[in-house]
């Protein structure tokens, strides 16, 4: 069983839709949770970072962590064609925060 599971998609939505991207994990020691956005043929760029449980909002993006269910989500409001990319979740434990566990990524396509 992988440490982090993420649906690869692709997920196709119309412009303006609310997008929900999710990851599940098995290690209850994870406390740091990240979302990266990766455009085609580019490196991942850090989008959101949350520590422990709760929500964090940044513009059109909201990251949500539910540690009791071992489930994290990224919501994108008013999605734009420029949001079309692969979204990777990543997480690490406090004891070894340099060791990241990545999901395999969800490919999102926002249609104009």
């Amino acid at each position: 069983q992988k440490e982090v599971e993420q649906d690869p998609g692709p997920l196709s939505v119309p412009e303006g839709a609310i997008v929900s991207l999710n990851c599940t994990y098995s290690n209850s020691a994870f406390q740091y949770f990240m979302w990266y956005r990766q455009y085609s043929r580019k490196g991942p760029e850090l989008l959101m970072y949350t520590y422990s449980s709760g929500n964090k909002e940044d513009g059109r993006f909201t990251a949500q962590v539910d540690k009791s269910s071992k489930y994290i989500s990224l919501f994108i409001r008013d999605s734009q064609p420029s949001d079309s990319a692969t979204y990777l979740c990543a997480m690490s434990a406090k004891a070894n925060f340099n060791k990241f566990y990545f999901g395999s990524g969800t490919k999102l396509n926002v249609k104009p």
């Binding site: 990240m34 043929r41 991942p44 990777l88 340099n98 990241f100 395999s104």
Partner: protein
């Protein structure tokens, strides 16, 4: 802004060649990482370094070595390239004591 640069965007090499991939970061970060990214497998850690001349093996170090002679520079070496090392190679860096990693643009290596 954190800047992580990689020496080549695209590289084509022959089986058996020695290959050097170089990564430079300009933010005085303690930690540097090398990953490879393959479809369906996500990002896998090859090696990381937490200080000059210090290195630790990641999940898939076989067939690779690294060098960190200066704080800003981290090199990945394929001693004898093989076709199964065809992949996207991503370098990342992070400040010491924190958990966010910043990625370079990647090097797409093809071994023929």
């Amino acid at each position: 802004d954190v800047k992580v640069t990689q020496s080549s965007r695209y590289l084509v090499k022959r089986t058996g060649e020695k290959v050097f991939l170089e990564c430079v970061q300009d933010m005085d970060h303690e930690n540097m990482f090398w990953y490879r990214q393959d479809p369906g497998l996500g990002l896998r850690l090859i090696y990381f370094s937490y200080d000059v001349k210090m290195k630790e093996k990641g999940d898939i170090p076989e067939g690779y070595s690294v060098s960190r002679e200066k704080k800003e520079r981290f090199s990945l070496i394929l001693e004898s390239a093989s076709t199964n090392q065809t992949s996207m190679y991503l370098c990342a860096s992070s400040p010491g004591g924190t958990d966010t990693q910043y990625f370079g643009p990647g090097t797409r290596l093809t071994v023929l």
